[in-house]
């Protein structure tokens, strides 16, 4: 049972708007949004940010889902891992690409490009010590990704530090995030 009541039928206008944003994007209201429902400001801004992250961006959504899985593992987060495995598969990632994000398997996996591996190195280092991300990590990333993509990737990684910590601290179960299978494009 989550630490706070999940609000099923909000009466506050701002919370209702957050639920509308969630329903439009996810086809349903995720439990995380419901768990934040007793605080209109937090419910609205976190839901809006969350929905912005889970879509096609300057980085493909399919790869973003692998980055999310790697991030949740790097911070030992349990929140929504299964839901993101499902989304990653729906977006076309093979079982190998989903499974090999675990521990150090990605470093020797033939299923990722060098550009993708450079991002996984960043994820792991942010999990260990974000103050210690040096040129050895940034240079390979800059060789493959634009500044805009770098900001998006860094925001995605750290967003899921936030989302993972919030979900885990409040004890939110999230077996599904989208009502229907998702697709890219």
């Amino acid at each position: 049972m989550p630490a706070v009541t999940m609000v099923e039928s909000p009466t506050d206008e701002k919370v209702r708007d957050a639920y509308r944003i969630a329903e439009e994007h996810f086809g349903m209201v995720p439990n995380l949004t419901k768990a934040l429902g007793s605080n209109p400001d937090m419910c609205h801004s976190v839901t809006d940010f969350f929905a912005q992250a889970l879509r096609e961006g300057m980085v493909s959504w399919a790869f973003k889902e692998l980055v999310i899985l790697k991030t949740l593992r790097a911070i030992r987060s349990f929140y929504s891992y299964g839901a993101h495995e499902r989304i990653a598969a729906e977006l076309g990632n093979s079982m190998e690409r989903i499974g090999d994000v675990a521990n150090s398997l990605w470093t020797t996996s033939p299923h990722y490009t060098e550009a993708e591996k450079a991002v996984f190195r960043l994820v792991e280092q942010i999990g260990i010590d974000a103050m210690d991300v040096g040129d050895d990590i940034w240079d390979p990333i800059k060789a493959h990704w634009t500044n805009a993509q770098i900001v998006e990737l860094n925001a995605l990684i750290t967003t899921f530090v936030m989302i993972g910590r919030t979900g885990d601290t409040l004890g939110v179960p999230e077996p599904y995030l989208f009502a229907e299978p998702v697709s890219s494009g």
């Binding site: 630490a3 706070v4 009541t5 768990a35 934040l36 007793s38 605080n39 209109p40 400001d41 937090m42 419910c43 609205h44 801004s45 976190v46 809006d48 940010f49 912005q52 992250a53 961006g57 300057m58 030992r76 349990f78 960043l122 280092q125 942010i126 010590d129 974000a130 103050m131 210690d132 991300v133 940034w138 800059k142 500044n147 805009a148 770098i150 900001v151 998006e152 860094n154 925001a155 990684i157 750290t158 967003t159 530090v161 936030m162 989302i163 910590r165 919030t166 885990d168 601290t169 409040l170």
Partner: protein
């Protein structure tokens, strides 16, 4: 120097320009960390809205209480950028120097400068940062004795959001603005950074001459 260039106001697109304007109105200056998100305007706009919502007197939770959580969470992450800025902001919101000194490590638990309610949420913060899976029932019991659901949501979101933004800025090497040069961070004087990299950043910052 940050890993990627800052987007200065004159080069900002309309979405980012509005974020910069809001940030300057709120913080009386445009902080460097805003300038990196100019590369990804829509993402930046939605990300910063969370912080605009946190950094104010809330209908659910006062700004002073949120500053306690921000100091605790960002100090645990060795974030020089956040700790330095929020030592100044938290003092403005009523956090005393004694509280700043005692918030490090587990000092707050026996400090006479915190209420029982504050000690409960600082405990929650410590567990949330280190490992939420280990939060004991007695911590939740003490938190719920003093705070309702809406407040708990804001407490947890504030902790998690500051973990996010501190890692976001630190990974990109966002630098403290010259206006902070000369400030001697109290929390790091009480408890040095845990990581060697964070100590290097602190030494570099302390070597900067104060701006006049």
């Amino acid at each position: 120097m940050a890993t990627i260039p800052y987007i200065e106001p004159e080069d900002a697109d309309p979405i980012t320009a509005q974020v910069y304007e809001d940030a300057e109105a709120r913080f009386q200056m445009l902080l460097n960390i805003f300038k990196v998100t100019g590369h990804a305007p829509e993402m930046g706009q939605k990300m910063w809205q969370i912080f605009f919502d946190i950094l104010q007197e809330g209908p659910k939770l006062d700004w002073y209480t949120k500053e306690l959580l921000i100091l605790k969470a960002t100090k645990m992450g060795d974030c020089l950028y956040c700790v330095t800025q929020h030592e100044i902001v938290s003092a403005r919101e009523g956090v005393s120097e004694e509280q700043q000194r005692d918030i490090v490590g587990v000092e707050y638990r026996t400090s006479p400068h915190f209420t029982e309610a504050e000690k409960a949420i600082l405990d929650l913060c410590s567990y949330a940062v280190l490992d939420p899976e280990e939060i004991p029932p007695e911590v939740w019991m003490r938190v719920k004795e003093h705070y309702d659901d809406g407040q708990i949501v804001e407490i947890v979101t504030t902790i998690a959001a500051y973990l996010q933004v501190s890692k976001f800025g630190d990974a990109l090497g966002v630098e403290l603005e010259p206006v902070f040069h000369g400030h001697q961070p109290i929390l790091f004087a009480e408890e040095p950074p845990k990581s060697a990299a964070a100590q290097r950043h602190l030494d570099h910052f302390l070597a900067q001459a104060p701006t006049s």
